[in-house]
């Protein structure tokens, strides 16, 4: 459908959303005038800190993993990440994240929201918070997106279902829902009928129907499908070298799509790499993961910096917990929430910092300088010019802050 026809059609519908293309997209402005974004690389299953950002080569707990130097003086990471090592100065390394949750579901909830599970409330994912704090009238795409095979994408929680992540399990492959749309008068008639049936259903069910977000999701779907911005999900027009640099994997394509979405103004994107729950065969499996993660992550950082997007995009890489220093009988490591690692940077956060340390003998559970996940998120929010102490009223009237943590001074300018 021609762009002109699109506009006429949309106007004919009289729908309540902004017409595409009439306003300057925020993404066309670079640098710090852009809205702020969060990009999280989620390593699902609990990545081993000893095989990633906190190796202890030569020690009893280190296993066969060797370490390499990086562009941060004095900081080494596991040897499977040579390309990332060259880009690491964009980020800082935290080795002392702690949580009290060792169960996958509970830990994933905690690390994605910054709060421990509470039976009385559903907390929003950090991506939903970033979107909630920065509403937009120009963005026709969903403000929160999850790319890759993830079973627990960010939810809006008490902020509402409109902040649930749009999930695309295989990013970079063409979606088929997006193109077809039948001719105008018939479509108009259908939507009128939908409106009529919907109004009748609303009677006597007001608040509960509103909570379903049903009508909202239809409007948002139509908006998205007719938007030019939806091209951000496709990578065919990216130069071959760029696509090769990110790598021919679901994860690599996901990171490239994530960069494009952020350029388009999407507020929060999460890209998932699975299968880090290495209770057995820990070393081989982490080595295999490194061959995918290393080139893609390095390409992303270079790309963000080159396009002047890094200053307005917080980048985070972590999982729900780490893994035990002690190697079990199956050449594996088990769950370890007592001192695990993450990489964090962008959005004006200081790069090159090293925070915390774990015991090279693997005996002491508590790391040096422990940092809670809530503190991490308070820091990220502050860098994104969002007040972590901002309170939101839940539907039953209970005030909850975006984050209960304290920002980490060493990471803020």
């Amino acid at each position: 459908m021609e762009r002109r026809d699109l506009l006429r059609w949309a106007a004919g519908l009289g729908m309540s959303f902004t017409l595409p293309g009439l306003t300057t997209r925020a993404a066309e402005r670079r640098g710090t005038e852009r809205p702020r974004s969060l990009l999280t690389i989620w390593l699902s299953g609990g990545p081993s800190q000893l095989e990633t950002w906190d190796p202890h080569p030569g020690s009893l707990i280190g296993g066969p993993t060797r370490a390499i130097d990086t562009s941060i003086k004095g900081v080494q990471i596991a040897e499977g990440f040579p390309l990332l090592a060259g880009q690491l100065h964009h980020l800082s390394v935290i080795r002392s994240l702690t949580s009290r949750e060792g169960d996958h579901d509970r830990a994933t909830y905690t690390v994605k929201t910054g709060f421990r599970p509470d039976p009385t409330v559903t907390h929003p994912g950090i991506g939903a918070i970033v979107a909630h704090a920065q509403p937009s009238t120009e963005l026709e795409l969903p403000p929160v997106v999850s790319l890759g095979q993830e079973n627990s994408p960010w939810k809006g929680g008490f902020l509402g279902g409109s902040f649930n992540a749009l999930q695309v399990r295989e990013p970079g492959q063409a979606g088929e829902n997006v193109r077809d749309w039948i001719e105008e008068p018939r479509q108009q008639r259908r939507l009128d009928g939908l409106d009529l049936v919907g109004k009748r259903f609303l009677q006597g069910r007001g608040a509960v129907v509103n909570r379903t977000q049903h009508e909202h999701s239809i409007e948002a779907a139509i908006r998205m499908m007719t938007s030019e911005q939806v091209k951000a999900f496709e990578i065919d027009e990216e130069p071959e070298e760029i696509r090769a640099a990110y790598g021919d994997s679901n994860f690599g394509r996901g990171l490239l799509v994530a960069r494009r979405l952020i350029e388009e103004g999407v507020r929060s994107v999460e890209v998932t790499l699975q299968n880090f729950d290495t209770h057995d065969d820990n070393f081989t499996r982490h080595q295999n993961h490194a061959t995918v993660l290393d080139p893609a992550f390095a390409a992303l950082l270079k790309d963000l910096a080159a396009r002047d997007l890094l200053a307005s995009t917080a980048v985070l890489c972590l999982g729900e917990f780490g893994r035990t220093p002690r190697i079990n009988g199956a050449e594996g490591r088990d769950h370890w929430p007592h001192g695990f690692s993450c990489l964090v940077g962008g959005a004006g956060l200081k790069g090159g910092q090293l925070i915390g340390a774990t015991d090279p003998a693997g005996e002491r559970e508590k790391p040096e300088d422990p940092i809670g996940v809530d503190d991490l998120y308070a820091t990220v929010l502050t860098a994104l010019a969002i007040d972590p102490a901002h309170q939101v009223q839940t539907p039953i009237g209970r005030p909850i802050k975006y984050s209960n943590g304290k920002p980490i001074g060493r990471l803020l300018g």
């Binding site: 039976p119 279902g161 997006v178 749309w181 259908r190 009928g193 977000q213 998205m224 088990d334």
Partner: protein
């Protein structure tokens, strides 16, 4: 004379063959199921009275009026969705409306339980408590066997406590003992994950979440790491090899305590009421007897909560597998009343289903003047004073759409294999792409990609396109257009259109077949995309 009749005999023979063939093709492969007996009003009177009294008191204490009683067609839609995973067919609706003998909702509950689709749909729902339904394809066959076993066992009225004991302690060749699947699947590659197994048993059978106790003492509800390990230790003798599960491992059960860097021998122990655990039997059998002990209220309350959730759309207590400690036995709550009746009647889950369907909260409307305000709505819902809205899961959605465009009731055992396989295939693809709900979802809101799939997805389009053999096609060809609109509404929403709705859809330009056909397609599209279709109410 005889030679002039030579043509008659082969003609008669051909005629007979044709007649036989026509008769074969015209009649359904199986007779329509009769509507079996159900527990009578007298049977259920006593527990039902107590159950309804609990809710009535709750409403009184909160100073609220419950919603009005829902009509029977609404009830039919609810039980159909809950038990066989689909909206009722037009055939079923007509039969139901013509059924004027008493107790019809209860009898149709029995009918749906006896349906083959119950095994497939309800069996899946209950199986989710015990096994991961996703996972690698090697175990797909074993999972299906387990689902079938659960569905069939409920259908036949097998005592649930027996089923539970088999799940915990069943042994032998897995193909012959599908109940043992849950335990066998936790022994992947010969290495048991005791924490997962103990966690699963607690959640599925005791309604108790103890997973946190694995790493540290439970932050709520007083479960300790030692108690969790004690349960896991009952599986220390299990040996799974070559698709066979036995209790032949010797030696003590050893926990690998990575925090303190030592191994620890753990004796099998139970967290409360140790007197319920017998001395005889192997470790798993002892645990099974303990879990299902007649005095273990948690066991009954857990399944009652789960069944309520599967029928009503929301469990009585959320999360479904994280119940608080039971109240004083002298002040039984709804879960106790359901559980006690259940125990007194051979742990027959069918009876529990009947009791829930007969309860006052099940029969309430989902509309209420108080629902216009968010705060009042919350109070009404928490007190079960109004029937909740819950989103149809992907399975229910595709099954319902397939049923709504079908002339006959879709009954898998009555279909040719090819048709059945094609249906399974499209269902599988739809569920995979539409997305499953996480089992922790609290009535998750509709998502944008799901809306996009319904609005323009080719799968839905293929369903609604009028054809010679489907309902949209037949409706489009009907002479009386208003009857056609009525059929579409009944097929999709299990109700007749309101006057203004009928007027809207009948007010279409043009009367030729093509345009009539497009109108029908549009009606189906509209109804499929309505909240009324996509949500249970």
């Amino acid at each position: 004379m005889t030679h002039s009749r030579h043509w008659l005999r082969p003609l008669t023979a051909a005629g007979l063959v044709l007649a036989a063939f026509a008769w074969l093709v015209a009649r359904p492969l199986l007779d329509a199921p009769s509507t079996p007996d159900a527990p009578s009003a007298e049977d259920l009177a006593e527990p039902l009275g107590k159950l309804n009294e609990v809710f009535a008191r709750q409403w009184q204490d909160n100073g609220i009026e419950s919603a009005a009683a829902a009509d029977d067609l609404t009830g039919l839609r609810r039980i159909s969705l809950a038990l066989v995973g689909s909206v009722p067919s037009i055939e079923e609706i007509r039969e139901f409306e013509n059924d004027s003998s008493g107790n019809r909702l209860q009898r149709w509950t029995s009918r749906f339980i006896a349906d083959r689709r119950f095994i497939e749909y309800f069996g899946v729902n209950l199986s989710e408590a015990f096994i991961d339904l996703e996972g690698d394809n090697q175990e797909a066959h074993q999972r299906l066997r387990f689902i079938e076993w659960i569905g069939e066992s409920i259908q036949k009225g097998r005592p649930y406590d027996e089923m539970a004991r088999e799940i915990i302690a069943g042994r032998g060749v897995l193909a012959d003992e599908p109940a043992a699947t849950m335990v066998a699947m936790e022994f992947g590659e010969g290495v048991m994950a005791p924490e997962r197994l103990a966690g699963r048993i607690s959640r599925a059978l005791l309604g108790q979440r103890i997973d946190c106790a694995q790493c540290h003492d439970h932050p709520f509800d007083d479960w300790t790491q030692g108690q969790f390990e004690g349960i896991a230790a009952h599986f220390g003798q299990v040996n799974v090899r070559m698709a066979m599960i036995q209790d032949t491992r010797r030696g003590p059960f050893v926990i690998d305590d990575t925090r303190n860097n030592l191994k620890r021998e753990v004796e099998p122990a139970v967290p409360f009421d140790p007197e319920w655990r017998p001395e005889d039997g192997n470790q798993r059998e002892r645990l099974a007897t303990w879990v299902t002990h007649p005095e273990n209220r948690r066991f009954r309350r857990a399944i009652a909560n789960r069944m309520w959730g599967l029928l009503v759309g929301r469990p009585l207590v959320h999360p479904v597998d994280g119940l608080p400690d039971p109240p004083d036995a002298n002040e039984p709550d709804a879960l106790d009343i359901l559980g006690n009746d259940f125990a007194a009647h051979d742990h027959d889950l069918r009876r529990m289903i009947h009791l829930i369907v007969a309860s006052r909260p099940f029969g309430l409307e989902s509309t209420h003047p108080g629902l216009d305000d968010a705060a009042t709505a919350q109070t009404l819902q928490e007190a079960h004073a109004v029937f909740p809205l819950s989103e149809l899961d992907a399975h229910q959605l595709i099954r319902s759409m397939q049923q709504a465009v079908s002339i006959r009731t879709i009954r898998p055992e009555a279909e040719w294999t090819y048709v059945r396989l094609k249906r399974y295939e499209s269902r599988f693809q739809f569920v995979r792409d539409y997305g499953e709900q996480s089992d922790d979802s609290e009535n998750e809101a509709s998502t944008v990609p799901q809306a996009a799939e319904r609005l323009t997805g080719y799968k839905v389009r293929n369903l609604t396109r009028p054809g010679v053999t489907n309902a949209p096609g037949r409706i489009g060809a009907m002479a009386a257009a208003d009857k056609g609109v009525e059929e579409a509404f009944l097929a999709c929403l299990t109700r007749r259109p309101a006057a203004e709705e009928a007027a809207f859809f009948l007010d279409q330009p043009g009367r030729n077949t093509n345009q009539r056909s497009r109108t029908v397609e549009d009606v189906y599209w509209t109804l499929f995309n309505s909240a009324e279709f996509c949500w249970n109410h």
